[in-house]
C-alpha cells in the first residue's frame, strides 16, 4: 500500500478530487495548510536589511491506495493540479505497512 501526500494550490482541489474519483479512489483527507517553497517564504537581503516573506495558503491531501494504482493516482494528481505557474506544489509517495478499518476490523488492502 502506498500513502500519497500532495501539497497543491487551494483552487485546484475540486479538479484533483474529480480526477481521483474517475480512477475509483473515493477516500481522501484534505487539510488547509500554509507553507513556502521557492514561491515565497524565504529571507531576502536588500541593502543590508533582512526581511522575511510570509507563508502561502495551500491545501494538503492525503490518501492511501493499493500499490498497483499508486502511479496512476500520482499522475492524476499532477495533471489535475498543474497550472504551469510557480507554486503548483509537490507530490510525495511513501510505503504504508498496515491499515485497519476500525468499524469492521478489515486489514490490509481490504481496509482501503
Amino acid at each position: 500500500m502506498k500513502k500519497i501526500e500532495a501539497i497543491i494550490k487551494p483552487h485546484v482541489l475540486d479538479e484533483v478530487k474529480a480526477a481521483l474519483q474517475q480512477l475509483g479512489v473515493t477516500g481522501m483527507t484534505a487539510y488547509e495548510v500554509k507553507g513556502f517553497g521557492r514561491q515565497k517564504g524565504h529571507t531576502e537581503v536588500y541593502r543590508g536589511s533582512e526581511y522575511t516573506v510570509d507563508f502561502v495558503p495551500k491545501t494538503k491531501i492525503e490518501l492511501v491506495v493499493d500499490d498497483d494504482i499508486a502511479p496512476k493516482v500520482e499522475q492524476a494528481i499532477i495533471d489535475a493540479a498543474r497550472t504551469g505557474k510557480i507554486g503548483d506544489g509537490k507530490v510525495f509517495t511513501s510505503t504504508i505497512e498496515s491499515a485497519v478499518r476500525i468499524r469492521t476490523g478489515e486489514r490490509g488492502p481490504e481496509a482501503l
Partner: protein, 748 residues
C-alpha cells in the same frame, strides 16, 4: 420495553414505574430484616418520573439507626442492579445527615427537591423530602441567586445542541423546577410550580410543558441510537426521521427564553423587553440598529426579541428562521441565529487582520445597508436548495425600506446579499493570480466602494458560521483577493468595465465564428483585457491567426493579418507567433528593419502559448507600404527569432542612418502596484528601434511583458508596459525597479 416504546414523556414515566417496581421489590426483600425504620427514595430525574434508557439511578436510603446488618442488606439491593448493567448512584444516610448534606452541597439539594418515595417507611421518607424543601425555602435569599447563576453552556440555537446540560436543555427546565420548590418550600417535579411563585404565567407554563415533552422525546431517541451515553443531538442520532428536529429546536429556544424571563422576575438576570408587553411592542428600525451597533452585546437581546416575535414587522418570518435548521459542513447555528451573529459581529469582523496584506480595518462606521444585508443575508434559506443568495436579494428589495433605507441603500444591501458568497467562492476556489478571474469578480462587485462592505460581510458571515470557517488560511487568501479587486476597480484600471465590454465583444465574435470549433476555442480562451480593447470582427481575425500558429506545430510559425489603420497612411498589423522570451522585442525590431514606424502597439498575454500583438504602423520614410514590405517584415521577424544578436547588429546599423526627429529627456516611472503586474511608463524621443530597445531591457532583466500600449505623438513615444518577474509576480523590489529604469535609459 425500551425498544418498543414510543419516545417521549409517557415512555419515561413507564420506564420509571417499571424501575420503581423492580427496585422496590429488591429493597423490600433485602432490607426487610432491618430493625430500624428505613425508606428508599428516588432522586433527580428518576424522582421526577423521567427516566431515560441510559439514565443512572440516583438512590437515597434513609435510616436513622445504624443497623449492623445494613451493609449486607444493601448488597442485596445494589448488586442485582449492578449485575443488570445499571448505573447506580447511592447514598445511605440518616435524616439529619442528609439534611446537613443538602445544606452544604447544591447537587444533593437539587436532586432531593425532585425526590419521591419508592418504598419503606412513608413517614421517614416524607420527612426527609419536606425538611429539605422547607430548609431550602428558609435559605431562599442565598439559594435563588446561586441557582440563577448556574452556568448554561452553548446556545439553544446550536445545530448540535446539548439536550441535557446546554442552554435550553433539560437542566434549564430542572432549574425552574428547583426554583419553584425553593420558593414554595415543597418538593416539585416540573416547572409549573413557578406559576404559584409568580415567576411564570400560565401561558409560559404551558409552553414549558410542551418543551419539556419534546426535550424528553429527543433525549430518549438520542440515547436509543447512541453507542455510548451522550446528550448531544446530532443528525445521525436523530433516528431517521423519528424526531422532528425543527420542533426540538423550538423547544430548546422556548425553555431558554422562558428561563431567562423567570430569572428576571426573580430579580436575577435582565431581559431586554418587558414580557408583559411583548404583544404590543414591535422593534423599531432605530432600536434595531442601536442593538446591532452594540456588537456582540446586542446578540442576546436580539435573540430574545426575535423569539418574542418583535422583529416581525421589520422582517416578517424572522421568528421561524430562528429555529430553521439547514445543517452544512461548518455551520454551528440555526439560520436565524447565524444571521443575528453575523449582523452583531460586523464590528469584530472589522478588526480582523487579513493575512500579511496589512489591511487592518479602521474604525470606519458600519453602514446601515451592510447591517441590513448581514441581518438578512441567509433569509433565502427559507427554501432548501440552491439560489438562497438570489432569494435573499429579492427579500431585501421587498422589505429594505422598512429599515429606513432609501432606494440607493436598498440597492446596495440587495447587492451585498446577492454577492455575499462571491469573495469566499473566488478566493478559495479560483485562481486569484489569474487576471481574468479578478476582472470577472470585479465586474460582479461593480464599484470600488463596495469591496470593503462585501469583505466585512464575508468575514462576519464566516465568524458567525463557526471556528472552522475563519482561520489565518482563509484570511490570507481573502486579503489577497480584496487587494487585487481594489486595484482592478480603481478609476484608472476600470476592471469592472473591462469585464463587461469583454463579455459583449466575446459574444458577438462567437456569433461571427459560427460553428468553427478552432475559432470558437481561440475566442473563448482569449483574455478579458484583450477582448475589451477589440472589435468583434478583429477578434475573429485574430482567432484565425492564433489558431493557425497553434495548429502548425512549427515553433517559428508566424501568422500576419494586415488591414488599413485608423488614419491615412497607417496600417493595423496583427501578428501571432509562439510565445517566447524576447518575442515582443523581436517584433519591434523586425518592423524597424522593414522601414515601418510603430505608432501604437498592444501586446496581450499569451494563451495556449501563442502570443498576439497588434501594431499600428506607418512608413518611417516617404516610401509606400507594399505587399513586399510585409513579406520583408516576415523574413526579418523569422531571422530575428533565429538570431537575436543579428537583429541587434542590423538595427544599430540602420539607426546610424535615421536620427530622432525630436529631442526629449527620457523618463521612466514605475508603479509599485500590488496587482498581477508592475506598470512601467516610458516617455522618450521616438526613433528607429525604440520599442525594441525598451523591450530588450525587460528581456535582459528576465521580465515578462503581459500587456503593452505604445503611442507616439509628435515624435514623442508614451509607452506603458505591465511586466512580471520570472515567477509571474509583480516586481516590487525598489532595487530591481531601479536597475530596470537604469537599463532602459541606457538603451534608449
Amino acid at each position: 420495553m425500551v425498544g418498543s416504546a414510543r419516545p417521549g414523556p409517557r415512555a419515561a414515566r413507564d420506564l420509571s414505574d417499571l424501575t420503581d417496581g423492580a427496585v422496590s421489590a429488591l429493597a423490600e426483600t433485602a432490607l426487610a430484616g432491618l430493625r430500624a425504620p428505613w425508606a428508599v427514595v428516588a432522586l433527580g430525574g428518576w424522582g421526577a418520573r423521567r427516566l431515560l434508557p441510559l439514565s443512572d439511578l440516583d438512590l437515597l436510603i434513609v435510616t436513622d439507626a445504624r443497623d449492623p446488618g445494613l451493609e449486607q442488606a444493601l448488597r442485596g439491593v445494589l448488586y442485582p442492579l449492578w449485575d443488570a448493567g445499571l448505573d447506580v448512584g447511592h447514598q445511605v444516610r440518616s435524616r439529619p445527615d442528609h439534611l446537613r448534606m443538602a445544606r452544604g452541597d447544591i447537587d444533593t439539594l437539587t436532586a432531593t427537591l425532585t425526590g419521591r418515595r419508592l418504598c419503606g417507611d412513608a413517614d421517614l421518607a416524607e420527612r426527609v423530602l419536606a425538611e429539605t424543601a422547607s430548609d431550602a425555602h428558609r435559605r431562599r435569599r442565598t439559594l435563588i441567586p446561586q441557582l440563577c447563576s448556574r452556568e448554561r453552556p452553548g446556545s439553544p440555537y446550536l445545530l448540535e445542541p446539548d439536550l441535557k446540560g446546554g442552554a435550553g436543555g433539560q437542566r434549564d427546565l430542572d432549574e425552574m423546577t428547583w426554583l419553584g420548590a425553593v420558593l414554595t418550600g415543597a418538593s416539585a417535579h416540573d416547572p409549573s410550580v413557578l406559576v404559584t411563585g409568580g415567576a411564570l404565567d400560565a401561558q409560559e407554563a404551558t409552553v414549558l410543558a410542551l418543551a419539556g415533552d419534546r426535550i424528553t422525546e429527543a433525549r430518549w431517541v438520542v440515547q436509543c441510537h447512541a453507542v455510548r451515553p451522550t446528550s448531544t443531538l446530532t443528525e445521525d442520532l436523530a433516528g431517521d426521521g423519528t424526531l422532528d428536529l425543527a420542533l426540538t429546536q423550538a423547544a430548546l429556544a422556548d425553555a431558554h427564553h422562558v428561563l431567562l424571563r423567570a430569572r428576571s422576575r426573580l430579580g436575577h438576570g435582565a431581559t431586554s423587553f418587558d414580557p408583559r408587553h411583548v404583544e404590543e411592542i414591535q422593534l423599531s428600525a432605530p432600536r434595531l440598529f442601536d442593538l446591532l451597533d452594540d456588537g456582540p452585546d446586542g446578540l442576546a437581546p436580539l435573540e430574545e426579541a426575535s423569539w418574542a416575535g418583535l422583529l416581525e414587522e421589520l422582517a416578517p418570518g424572522f421568528r421561524d428562521l430562528l429555529t430553521l435548521r439547514r445543517p452544512a459542513l461548518s455551520h454551528l447555528y440555526t439560520v436565524g441565529d447565524h444571521c443575528l451573529r453575523a449582523a452583531t459581529g460586523l464590528r469584530t469582523a472589522a478588526a480582523e487582520r487579513l493575512g500579511d496584506s496589512g489591511a487592518e480595518h479602521t474604525s470606519a462606521p458600519i453602514g446601515r445597508p451592510l447591517q441590513v444585508a448581514a441581518l438578512l443575508h441567509d433569509t433565502g434559506k427559507v427554501l432548501p436548495g440552491r439560489g438562497h443568495s438570489e432569494r435573499g436579494e429579492d427579500r431585501v428589495r421587498q422589505i429594505g425600506a422598512r429599515f429606513g433605507l432609501d432606494p440607493a441603500q436598498v440597492d446596495e444591501a440587495a447587492m451585498l446579499v446577492r454577492e455575499h458568497l462571491l469573495l469566499p467562492e473566488t478566493a478559495f476556489g479560483r485562481d486569484i493570480h489569474d487576471e481574468d478571474v479578478v476582472l470577472k469578480t470585479a465586474a460582479r462587485v461593480g464599484r470600488a466602494q463596495l469591496v470593503e462592505p462585501l469583505l466585512r460581510l464575508t468575514i462576519a458571515d464566516s465568524l458567525a458560521t463557526g471556528p472552522g470557517a475563519w482561520t489565518p488560511w482563509h484570511a490570507a487568501l481573502l486579503g489577497e483577493l480584496a487587494q487585487r479587486l481594489r486595484v482592478a476597480l480603481d478609476e484608472e484600471s476600470s476592471g469592472a468595465g473591462i469585464a463587461e465590454r469583454a463579455r459583449t465583444v466575446r459574444e458577438e465574435a462567437l456569433t461571427l465564428a459560427g460553428e468553427d470549433v478552432r475559432l470558437r476555442r481561440a475566442i473563448e480562451r482569449a483574455p478579458l483585457r484583450y477582448l475589451a480593447a477589440q472589435r468583434p470582427g478583429d477578434v475573429l481575425v485574430h482567432a484565425g491567426l492564433t489558431a493557425g500558429v497553434a495548429s502548425s506545430g512549427d515553433p517559428l510559425a508566424i501568422e500576419l493579418a494586415v488591414s488599413p489603420g485608423p488614419t491615412d497612411g497607417t496600417w493595423r498589423a496583427s501578428v501571432a507567433a509562439a510565445d517566447r522570451p524576447g518575442l515582443f522585442a523581436a517584433l519591434c525590431g523586425a518592423f524597424a528593419l522593414s522601414g515601418l514606424d510603430i505608432m501604437a502597439a498592444d501586446a496581450y498575454d499569451a494563451h495556449d502559448d501563442v502570443a498576439l500583438d497588434v501594431f499600428v504602423v506607418g512608413s518611417d520614410t516617404l516610401a509606400s507600404v507594399e505587399p513586399a514590405t510585409w513579406a520583408a517584415f516576415q523574413r526579418a521577424l523569422r531571422a530575428a527569432l533565429i538570431d537575436p544578436a543579428g537583429l541587434e547588429t542590423r538595427l544599430t546599423e540602420r539607426r546610424r542612418h535615421y536620427l530622432p526627429r525630436v529631442t526629449v529627456e527620457t523618463r521612466v516611472a514605475t508603479a509599485l502596484a500590488e496587482s498581477y503586474a508592475t506598470a512601467v511608463r516610458v516617455v522618450a524621443a521616438d526613433r528607429v528601434g525604440l520599442l525594441y530597445d525598451i523591450a530588450r531591457a525587460f528581456a535582459d532583466g528576465q521580465l515578462d511583458i503581459h500587456w503593452a500600449r505604445a503611442i507616439t505623438q509628435d515624435g514623442v513615444a508614451h509607452d506603458v508596459f505591465h511586466v512580471t518577474d520570472a515567477q509571474g509576480e509583480p516586481v516590487t523590489d525598489p532595487g530591481v525597479l531601479g536597475h530596470l529604469a537604469m537599463r532602459i535609459r541606457e538603451r534608449v
